[in-house]
Symmetry: C2
Subunit: 236 residues, 2 copies
């Protein structure tokens, strides 16, 4: 690994995509300042996964923020309603599901921008991807481009010309299989990551939510062994 | 008052500007859903002021969100460093002061957008103003315009064409005196509002921070009696 001195904020959820985005940030020569959110998600064990990922990529800092979303949003991901299971791939790609959290990535990137400006970073990495993305509007290239424009008028650093913010979404046009292959190339150990939206007691992945289904298919299509421990009931 | 049925989210800090923006929202026929943030600000008594303002304008709902900014930003407003006092007007208008909180309005509007999408609102009011604005980059018209563009690609409601988000900043080009005159016309009782960044024990306004100075001058220039109780030391 080269010695990395230029700081970047990396949004780190503990899943496959953000772990890979963090590894890309390291390869591009950035010192990773990881930022993780505890926002009332069902799958809060992903916060522990984020700690493992931060350690794995050699992050120089890791901030975990508590987001008080309960009074503001309703989503299956934060406990209002059920997480869909066993949805066909076309439905996952087409519909905006009940696990959509309104404006979630806008809030996450807003925090990332605050942290970046505070530590003097102009680069923010997010693992959003627009192909296997579960139909979330805030995982699309248009969203990333608009946020970058906003960042450069929203901040003192942006308007005084001290630098220009870049929102890096290196996975935005990759399939899950391509992401996994890229991560393997970069030495990511996916056994430390967690994807399941609704893990069973003990932390095992359900194997049936959109996120588990995308993960399983990604490993299968990448030809990479899936290190995930799925709950037995989900293994027919 | 007319019967208001169309919901709008109104960011409500408890100060003059947001109280006036809320009154404008009511005049324009919106049902006000107020949103206030407790973000470690020195002047947390403004949250109580926000409750009074919400009641005054007849808000149909009021959500108070705890924002965990401590690990992410450094600002004199959140206790890192001193709040400047007795700054001349030109300096207030020119410089970005240490009370600037990086990306604060981006985070506030991101939450407002999440709440709006959740309750089915397409209108968000913010009391930002670009003239007597203490040099904050996220109080300028460019910022508001960029956020509105972002909102309409960031959300399910925006991309499915169910509606178009509008960020209303009705005070953006008004001086503090104009804002106060507008509020008086709309029946705002400014005695319930709080502006001071660094209130004395007992809650009296310091009379010397940028926010107190802008407030005092605003009332003086508007020719409206200032109902604020300033700390005695600040009354030479």
């Amino acid at each position: 690994m080269p010695s990395n001195h230029c700081p970047a904020v990396v949004l780190l959820s503990g899943g496959i995509d953000s772990a890979t985005a963090a590894a890309v940030a390291v390869e591009r020569g950035f010192a990773v300042h990881a930022l993780t959110f505890r926002y009332g998600q069902r799958h809060v064990i992903e916060v522990e996964a984020a700690r493992r990922v931060a350690a794995m990529v050699g992050a120089v800092g890791h901030v975990i923020v508590d987001l008080d979303l309960g009074g503001v949003v309703r989503s299956a991901l934060t406990g209002q309603g059920d997480v869909p299971r066993d949805r066909p791939r076309e439905a996952i790609a087409r519909d905006i599901p009940p696990t959509y959290v309104p404006a979630r990535n806008t809030i996450f990137l807003a925090y990332g921008l605050a942290m970046a400006e505070t530590i003097g970073a102009f680069d923010i990495f997010i693992g959003a991807n627009a192909l296997d993305y579960s139909g979330y509007p805030d995982c699309r290239p248009e969203f990333i481009a608009r946020f970058e424009e906003l960042a450069n008028v929203a901040t003192a650093a942006g308007v005084t010309g001290r630098g220009r913010f870049t929102i890096h979404a290196p996975l935005i046009r990759m399939t899950k299989a391509e992401i996994i292959r890229e991560g393997v190339r970069l030495g990511v150990d996916y056994s430390v990551t967690v994807s399941c939206y609704d893990p069973a007691a003990g932390g095992r992945a359900c194997g049936r939510c959109d996120s588990c289904l995308l993960r399983k298919r990604g490993f299968a299509e990448a030809g990479v062994p899936d290190p995930t421990q799925y709950a037995e009931a989900a293994q027919p």
